[in-house]
Each structure stands twice: as structure tokens, then as C-alpha cells.
Assembly symmetry: C3
Amino acid sequence: MIKTCFENVKMKTPLVHNITNYVTVNDVANVLLACGGSPIMADDIDDVEDITSICGGLNINIGTLNKNTIPSMLAAGKKANELGHAVLLDPVGAGASRLRTETAIKLLNEIKFDVIRGNISEIKTLAFGSGSTKGVDADVADAVTEDTLDPAVTFVKKLAGKLGCIIAVTGAIDLVADADTCYVIRNGRPEMGKITGTGCQLSGLMTAYLIANPDNKLEAAATAVILMGVAGEVGFANMESTDGNSTYRNRIIDAIYNMDADKLCSMAKCEIR
Amino acid sequence: MIKTCFENVKMKTPLVHNITNYVTVNDVANVLLACGGSPIMADDIDDVEDITSICGGLNINIGTLNKNTIPSMLAAGKKANELGHAVLLDPVGAGASRLRTETAIKLLNEIKFDVIRGNISEIKTLAFGSGSTKGVDADVADAVTEDTLDPAVTFVKKLAGKLGCIIAVTGAIDLVADADTCYVIRNGRPEMGKITGTGCQLSGLMTAYLIANPDNKLEAAATAVILMGVAGEVGFANMESTDGNSTYRNRIIDAIYNMDADKLCSMAKCEIR
Amino acid sequence: MIKTCFENVKMKTPLVHNITNYVTVNDVANVLLACGGSPIMADDIDDVEDITSICGGLNINIGTLNKNTIPSMLAAGKKANELGHAVLLDPVGAGASRLRTETAIKLLNEIKFDVIRGNISEIKTLAFGSGSTKGVDADVADAVTEDTLDPAVTFVKKLAGKLGCIIAVTGAIDLVADADTCYVIRNGRPEMGKITGTGCQLSGLMTAYLIANPDNKLEAAATAVILMGVAGEVGFANMESTDGNSTYRNRIIDAIYNMDADKLCSMAKCEIR
């Protein structure tokens, strides 16, 4: 499954429309090129429908949310839905401000997403943040660890069922789930948290994987998480003594660029629950 | 010619005003510093005329076009024209959306450009994209290769004559032409296409070259293309086995930073048609 | 003092709200992570008060000033003042355009800053730029060198006294002063000027230092300047023959990531006047 998902991206060069933040946008573009995809960025309300129409999927990231681009996100998302494109939401900072929380929920209400990818805090905000989303089991800790794994898996499956989309929660342990199946992934390095935007990069990457694997979206999303984690391990192994987080950023993207399917499969640490 | 153009940039530290996209803007700034120029970015309508007035030239790039900045592009361009500054257009994505195509044509109609630099698809859109620009020979393929070189050279010369400016088409083979003379440049590496923004970087670089070589703009534009291509070759030669597109990006800018005139001249692959 | 300031940042993980330019924002985020802080970027008027409330301090940088974000800067600054947060102004390009000069002065008039950090030209603009700020000794040269050091020290102390905040002027020699005490810092490398955004990075870093050292803000600001300069020296020492400004950027951030207090103290070149 990993191998097929990986090779489909290399073969199909999926074109990803990104409406994303200006902090990590360059890395998102380079990681998309590294994995075999192709990026386009466009966020003007008069530009997004045309651009999303020539792409295979849409990656919406609210990292530096601006009121000008909220209508662009909605218009692009609706167009992408109409065209049957893959659509992903990265609700950066949901829970940190009212604008972000409310916008994330508005996007959820008006657009059909294939995947929502965030950290546990952002995903919990989407689950419990507004009155109308109560009712999902709230017994989930603030970090996914071996100790909190069982209730976390239950939580993401339930939320996936409720929202009707794949939920990808990334952290020390990553979970990628629909209502029935949860991939538990233990790749990656804690040092990745010292680089800005590894989450944003993963969202871009994952959108490319969804586009190239339309019949296996859950597996595609899990493979993207595995790829990012394995690249974090390979990049870390390539670090020299004077390297720090800035060079690590380059080494991870480089590792994605140089990845092959066999290496990815052999390094994957993934179980199904 | 290459040597003089190169040394003039090093000597004069040309200050370039960039109205550009937020994806590759950091690389544009660093490549300008690498080549011996100096970058300023400003895009607010109340800021651009002052800023462009203290610069030597203006680089307009529509990569993440936003309706707020279209009036800024027009105002800055007109001011730069009034002051006799070098002005370059990079019509990123012209042809991919109506907003981009129409804006590129509007800019062409209202601003006098010294150079338009894009890929063949963008340049063809400017040539054939609107009713009023028909009439230029349409027999040009979608990629400039050895097989399609003759009609491509004819096309860019005609378009340069029609628009009254230098046309720089970059791709596997690069063409830099006015109505009479076309430089055919075979430097560079295909792997450069796996880095976001090498085209944007070249547009910034080229504006610095135009400023520093006001009496030899065609040669200056061609030298900038050669410099970018040679840097791509030098950077590639410096790649280690674990390097990928992210590190390659750094190595190309580094190669520009470390370039000397003799090396540039000796590696240039350039003929005149 | 250096050691304590440095260790407080590592220990407290100060969260910095940045309203900054889109050119160097990624480097600002990575340098904040490298030093032990944590970055958030938010600039929408409906987002900034919430975001600044969960942070410990605010870094305002006018590098790609946009009229939409001026009210955001004012709102965030006032909220940060109300909460007693550290607030820093980086008046990028003050003096280069009317919009930037007037905005910098407006921000100064409406927000209480802990530190203003800029180059000598920007700081002089704030001192002499408008009618109402005349009266400060104008005998200061356009660069801080050994020859112009005495009047420069007098100037920054007087300006600090007049504005009631710390003034940090960075250049060949760096000065960090309040009304009574001026740290004169001779770390750093001239090649740092060939990287875009080392000043912006320093402003981010310095805000983290102010947050983590609320009772020693002058020492904190000076330590941030020393750290940036020492990292410039360490990064330069790590350069290989083919490295240029792009890789140097990474090596400096890496050096901050790998810095320890003893190395920082032993390499600091700092005197008090």
C-alpha cells in the first residue's frame, strides 16, 4: 500500500492548489516538488476558482489567516468539491483565537473535506470548540502518547465518523483514521518540532498523495505521514555536528526528494487499530 | 560582454524594487544580494512610488497576484517609466487564470517594459492571449528544444519587435531576443525545475543586470540568464549524495555569490542567431 | 548576565507574536525556534488581540508595510501594553518612504515600546524625521565606527532617554542603550549584510530575550545582539569553500540552535560606556 501510494505520486505529478500562510509557503512548494508533485499558490477571490480548476486538489491552511482570503478559501473549496477534487484542511492555530476557531468551523460547515490534518489541540478544538460539535467523546488527553493511545484512537475514529472525513493527528505518535480504521504511526523525530512548518509541509504533501491515490485516500494520507516521518529520520541521520534546525529543514526536504519506495517501506513503523 | 555586464553589477550595487509573490520572495532577495545587487520589497499603493524612486529598477512578478497590488504595480511601473528606470515583467501563470492573463496584458498596455521574462507558455499567452495581440506568427511549439529552435527564435524576435522590448524565454534552451538578435543559451540543469522559484530569482537578477548595464540591455539580460544557468551547473557539481532540491536551492545561490567573471565566461554556452 | 539571559530563554520558551514582513518571516520563525523561543505570526485586525494575549511579547516589523496591517499593529501594540508584555519595534526602511517614516512615528506615539531596533539610518529618521522630534543632538554620523563611536553613544543614550525605551542600533559596531548605559558590541561579520533579514531575525530573537528576562531588559537586548553576532562568527567559521550567502544563512541559525552559554560568554566582545 505504501509502495503503490508513493509510486502513484511520482508517476502522476499531482498539481496542488495551496491557499496557505506566508511563513512556510516556500517550504510547502519545495516539499511538493521534492515528493513528485507540483505546487501552485493563489489566494485572490478572482483567481482561486480558475486555478483550482486546473489542479487536482486543494490544500487550505489558515496559518496567517486574513479576512480577505476567507472568501477565497470558501470559493476555492466549493469549486474543488464541485469538481470532485481532493480537499484538505490544516486548521493552524484553531483554538488560539476566535477568528481561527470560527473560520475553521465555517470552512468545515461549508466545504466537504477529504482530510483534516492538525495537532491534537487543533483537532480537539474542531471537535469541542462550538456548541454544535459537542457529543463526541471528550476523554482525550492533550498529547498522543503510548499512555493515552487507546482513548486517542477512539476519539479520532469517532470524530472521523461524525465529520465524514479522514482525521490526521500528528505529534509524538501520529494517527490517521476514518470511522473504522486507524493507522498508528511512530516515525519521525522530536527535533522536527524545532523547524517551523513541518506540519504545513505535511499537509501539502498529503494533498498530493490524495490526488494521486483517489481510490485509497486513507492509505494515501497515512503514507504521506510515514514519508514525512521517515524523511525526518533520514534527514536527522545525515546531520553533521554543526547542523541545527535550519539545515535540518533542508535535509528533510532533501530526504523526500531522494526517497525510494523500498527504503520508505522498510523504515515505516505503522500499525492498524 | 559577459565579463563587463557581470563586473558592472558587482561595481554598482544596483538597488532593485521588487513587487513579487510571497512564495519565493526570500530567495529573490538572497539571489540579488548574492550577485552584488540590493533588494527592496514594497507593494502598498502608498509606498511604491517613493520606494521605486530611490531604486534603479523595478521587477514586477505576478506569482501570487492579489487585486490590492495591481494598482501598486501600475503606479510603480509608471513612476519607474517616468524616471527612466529599468522595468521587468515576470508574468507568472499568465494563461493559467483569467485574472493573471488579463493583468499581464493590462500591465503590458500601460507600462513600458525593458524585458518580459517567462516560460514559453506564459510568453505565448501574452502573444496570442487576447484578440488584440493576434497577428504574430503562431507557429511555435510548447517547448524550446533543438527540434523547435528555429521557429521559436523567429517567434521571440517577432514578439520582441511587436512589443518593443526584450523577450526572455527560459526552459531547456533559453532565448533572449530583441527584434534583430537572439541569444540562444544552453546552460543550466533540468533539476533546476525541481526548485520553486528559479524563474523568479532570474527575474530579480536580470533586473539588477539591466540597471547596471543601461547601454547594453540585451547583453545584460542574456548574461543574467547565463549566470543563472552556470550557477545551476556549478551548484549541481557541488551536490553531495544526500542532497536534494532544498539544498540545491542554496547551492545555486551560493554559486552566484562565489562566481567570478572568468569562470562565468568559460562556462557560458551561448550563440547568437 | 549573558549566561543568565541566555538560560532564561532556554528555560522559559517565550512565545513571540510577530507582525512582520513576508520576505524574512520564515527565517524569523526558525531563529526563534533555534534560540529556544516559539513563534506565532498573525496580522489580521480580528486576530491580533487574541493572539498577542496568549504570547509573552510582540515584535512589530514594518518591512513590507501594508495599510491593512497598520491598524493591526496598533491594536496588537495597545493590547500588549495593556497586558504588560514586552514590545519591540523594527522600523525597517524608515526614511526610505513617507509611509514607512510616518507609520513608524505613529507607532512610537501610540505604543509604549521596550526596544526600538534598527540600523543607524532608521534610528536617525525616528530621531529627526518629524518636526516634533527635533532637539536631540544631531551630531551623529551615518555609520557607527571606531571614529564615530563617542558621538554615536551619546546620541543613542539621549534618544533612549527622550523616547523612554531601549535603543538598539546595529551595524559594524552595535550599540544597545538606555538613557544611562550603553553596551558597545563588536561581534558579528560584515558578510552578514549579504544575507537578507539578519536584522529581522535579531528583532525576533531580541523579543524572546525581553520576554524571558523581564527584570533585565537592557541586558537581555544586549545579549540577543551578542548572540546574533557570535552566531555570525561561528557560522562563518563553519563555511566551506563553495558556501555563499544562502548557506551562511542556515549556518547562522544552526549556530544559534547549537549555542551554549559558555561559548557565548567566551566569544562576547562587549564593553559598557
